[in-house]
């Protein structure tokens, strides 16, 4: 199998492949550099050059061979795992979110644009409204003069290609946007009334019914007092650089603020704000309960089944085992959705089979029982497989010795089998705990966090991760800063668990070997 040719020719073939790969890298680098140069993003260009230089250096040197094998994974790891973690930590110290998406200049422009009054002869537009993938409110505009299509946000106006329009010219669909239907448009009219798209220093586009117009603003920004004055109404907003918003003298904030670093406020909110602290502790307690319960139930069922099937002379074990893998092999996301339907109050299978009339989604504890049952179903085959594997790997001599000493079933299990099993399986049990601690899918697909009390932001079955996700991307106003802070909390908790795991398993290894 091995190439036995002399070294020279072998490296020649390798050399050709190496040159080929590096040529592809160089071509990609040129392709990637073009848009960066066009946008004059010099930092990006420098970063790209650095990455390419590192790649070329690593593959052309001969001393540190291990780097040649480590560099592809490391680069991906840096870009898509470590950088996101670093950015998450950074965002958690800011007020980034709805109302604080832009920088101060853009916020000023948006507020000025909100004071726009129609001027004779200004452009008018047919209006549709959409949400970008980021949930940002966007005016989808069709110029009534020439039919060109535009997308307007509080940051400004950009031309929109590939929009689908109806016969009147109104936009009905556009790539990357979810377009609102009329009902939603009516419902959220208030949000629209506040939105304005800046088009120049003192001009902007404002919504009026189902159309929009461009006009001049009665508001202007004065650098001397760092404030915005509305000459029409006489209102003055002063910039508050600490919270990133413009405030009137009564302390009322203008709708658009800007992004600032607010220090540890997001963290302190979790610890001190009673409106947040209470629910947060509640979620945390349930989160631990959910993860521990999931591990406990799945392991109990999995181990019990494995013990029952761990007898070579028993007939049918193969068939049993094959059938037991089935729940594990089914796509879990789909089975979670099936379970969600099985717990339907009126038509679901569970109520039908057991002749119950439980509104599973209605009560906190019934919903919690529901997600635990479904999650146990998903997880036990895994526990069964690993328990069976570990049982079969147990040293048979210690069990025989125990039998000779008279230890019967239960005693032998408790004193010998279980401790030995736990040594082998503890790392897997702990990583199962860590996995379930952040089991977003189970909650999101089963209960969506329900039940929600009236006006509550926190549902009875919410985990920290689903709660953070809803804070960032939910239908209510997005608060990326706060969501990131919760993410960091979760990081810390999981890191503590893993540290504990390392310590624990290392101690056991010492005992075992």
């Amino acid at each position: 199998m091995l190439d036995q040719r002399p070294k020279g020719s072998a490296t020649a073939a390798g050399l050709l492949i190496k040159i080929g790969v590096l040529a592809v890298v160089a071509a990609l680098a040129v392709w990637a550099a073009v848009p960066l140069i066009a946008a004059e993003a010099w930092w990006g260009l420098a970063l790209e050059a650095l990455v390419v230089a590192v790649i070329f250096y690593v593959y052309l040197q001969r001393r540190a061979i291990q780097l040649k094998y480590l560099i592809p994974g490391t680069l991906l790891l840096l870009a898509f795992q470590i950088l996101p973690v670093v950015l998450t930590v950074g965002t958690s110290f800011s007020n980034y979110g709805d109302g604080h998406r832009v920088d101060k200049e853009q916020a000023t422009e948006a507020i000025i644009a909100a004071g726009v009054q129609q001027t004779p002869g200004g452009a008018t537009y047919l209006l549709a409204v959409g949400e970008s993938a980021a949930g940002e409110l966007t005016l989808l505009l069709t110029d009534t003069a020439d039919g060109s299509t535009w997308a307007g946000t509080e940051e400004g106006l950009t031309e929109l290609d590939d929009a689908t329009v109806d016969p009147t010219g109104r936009i009905t669909a556009a790539p990357d946007y979810t377009v609102w239907d009329l009902a939603e448009l009516n419902e959220r009219q208030a949000e629209l009334a506040e939105l304005a798209v800046p088009t120049g220093p003192e001009t902007g586009i404002k919504v009026q019914g189902l159309s929009a117009f461009e006009g001049a603003s009665t508001r202007s920004y004065d650098e001397a007092c760092d404030c915005i004055t509305d000459s029409g109404t006489g209102t003055v907003w002063y910039a508050d650089n600490e919270t990133g918003s413009f405030l009137t003298e009564d302390g009322e904030a203008a709708l658009v603020g800007w992004r600032v670093t607010i220090g540890a406020d997001n963290y302190l909110d979790v610890l001190t704000d009673p409106d947040i602290r209470g629910p947060f502790l509640g979620i945390f307690a349930w989160n631990v309960m959910f993860a521990a319960g999931s591990v406990l139930f799945t392991f109990a069922i999995g181990l019990g089944t494995a013990m029952a099937l761990n007898k070579p002379s028993m007939r049918g074990t193969k068939v049993y085992r094959t059938l037991m893998i089935l729940p594990y092999a089914m796509p879990s996301f789909a089975m979670l959705l099936v379970w969600a339907q099985m717990f339907n109050r009126d038509f679901g299978l569970i109520n039908e089979l057991f002749n119950l009339n439980v509104n599973w989604y209605g009560g906190t504890w019934s919903a919690r029982a529901m997600v635990l049952i479904a999650n146990t179903w998903l997880g036990w085959p895994y526990m069964f497989l690993i328990s069976l594997g570990a049982l079969q790997a147990l040293p048979s001599d210690s069990l025989e010795a125990a039998k000779i000493d008279g230890a019967t079933g239960v005693t032998a299990f408790r004193k010998i089998t279980l401790p030995l099993l736990l040594i082998a399986l503890t790392p897997l049990l702990i990583s199962s705990f860590a996995f379930n601690f952040n089991n977003f899918n189970a909650i999101e697909l089963l209960s969506g966090g329900h039940p929600f009390g009236a006006g509550d932001a926190v549902g009875g079955t919410d985990l920290l991760i689903t709660y953070a996700f809803r804070q960032a991307f939910g239908s209510s106003s997005a608060d990326y800063g706060f969501a990131s802070a919760i993410s960091v909390f979760i990081f810390l908790i999981v890191a503590t668990i893993s540290a504990f795991m390392f310590r624990f398993t290392r101690n056991q290894e010492d005992v075992y070997s």
């Binding site: 994974g73 795992q81 950015l87 965002t91 007898k311 094959t322 789909a334 089975m335 960032a472």
Partner: protein, 298 residues
């Protein structure tokens, strides 16, 4: 005491002895199987249910029709074929590339001794405890700005989503593979080196073929994990025809979708699972050893 136990057992009648030895095992297995198989039977029953509504579905099928499967491929609102294709187009290359990359790293960790080797290994174990979706907000920002420069890899693109999945390439599978590579005798490498093989030839020509089973298992676990991902996929792919199976099938059970979509959803679930079940069952022997291998070899 050591004598009394066997004597007591011998005196039991045959049926009781059989139950004590084997019978209870069957009872446990059957009880657990009922729990395990009920939802699966229910999905099958729903998929072949002619009405397709939740209310008309019971555990055992009451009628038989392939209507749900037909609708899966004819209903313009349910581009199941596209979803299936999207899932495969994303999951197969992502699994392949990430397994290749992590096998490279595993080779480095298994065969080379260098400074920072152990800290790096520990760091990998730690970072994979932070699932990528915990950093969704940041990923969102990153890909938003990537999209500004390179529209092919921004938000709402398959390439962008694949990059995120590949970012997690170095992780648990690197550990699994390193454990397996460690069991391949180093003498083989030395013999090959003496014969004039380069490190690349040893890796591609010897280690990779020898490690085929563990690579297959890691690949399958990566593939299934990607297929099941919901949170990142729902964030990245929002256009209906661009969705993956997980995101698309979820929309069929949403509160505002027609009641008869439940049958279509069940049919889709069944078709999706054929793929994964076939893979799992054909490789179940390797899966058991792959799952426990990580724990035993550590």
């Amino acid at each position: 005491m050591t004598v009394s136990a066997p004597v007591k057992r011998k005196s039991r009648p045959g049926a009781a002895k059989w139950f004590g030895d084997t019978g209870w095992r069957h009872l446990v297995a059957i009880a657990v199987l009922v729990f395990g198989l009920v939802p699966i039977v229910y999905v099958i029953s729903a998929a072949f249910n002619p009405n397709g509504t939740l209310s008309s579905t019971s555990l055992l099928p009451t009628g038989f029709s392939l209507g749900n499967f037909e609708k899966l491929f004819s209903d313009p609102n349910v581009p199941f074929g596209r979803w299936f294709l999207n899932s495969l187009v994303i999951a197969v290359p992502a699994a392949f590339i990430s397994i290749f990359i992590s096998s490279l790293a595993a080779y480095a960790f298994s065969r080379f001794r260098f400074r920072g080797r152990r800290p790096m290994l520990l760091f990998l174990l730690l970072i994979q405890m932070f699932p990528a979706f915990l950093a969704v907000v940041a990923l969102y920002l990153i890909f938003g700005s990537i999209g500004e420069f390179y529209p092919v890899a921004g938000l709402n693109t398959k390439l962008g989503l694949m990059l995120v999945y590949m970012g997690g390439a170095l992780g648990v599978s690197t550990w699994l593979m390193k454990g397996f590579f460690d069991t391949i005798p180093k003498e083989l490498d030395e013999a090959a080196t003496i014969d004039g093989a380069t490190h690349a030839q040893i890796f591609f020509g010897m280690i990779l073929p020898l490690a085929a089973p563990i690579i297959a298992i890691s690949g399958i676990l990566a593939f299934v994990g990607t297929m099941n991902d919901f949170i990142l996929a729902s964030l990245f792919l929002t256009d209906r025809p661009e969705m993956t199976l997980a995101v698309g099938l979820k929309t069929l059970t949403a509160e505002n979708s027609p009641a008869s979509y439940f049958g279509i959803f069940a049919a889709g679930t069944l078709l999706t699972s054929i793929l994964t079940v076939a893979v799992f069952l054909s490789l179940q022997r390797y899966i058991v050893s792959g799952l426990t291998g990580g724990a035993v070899k550590g």
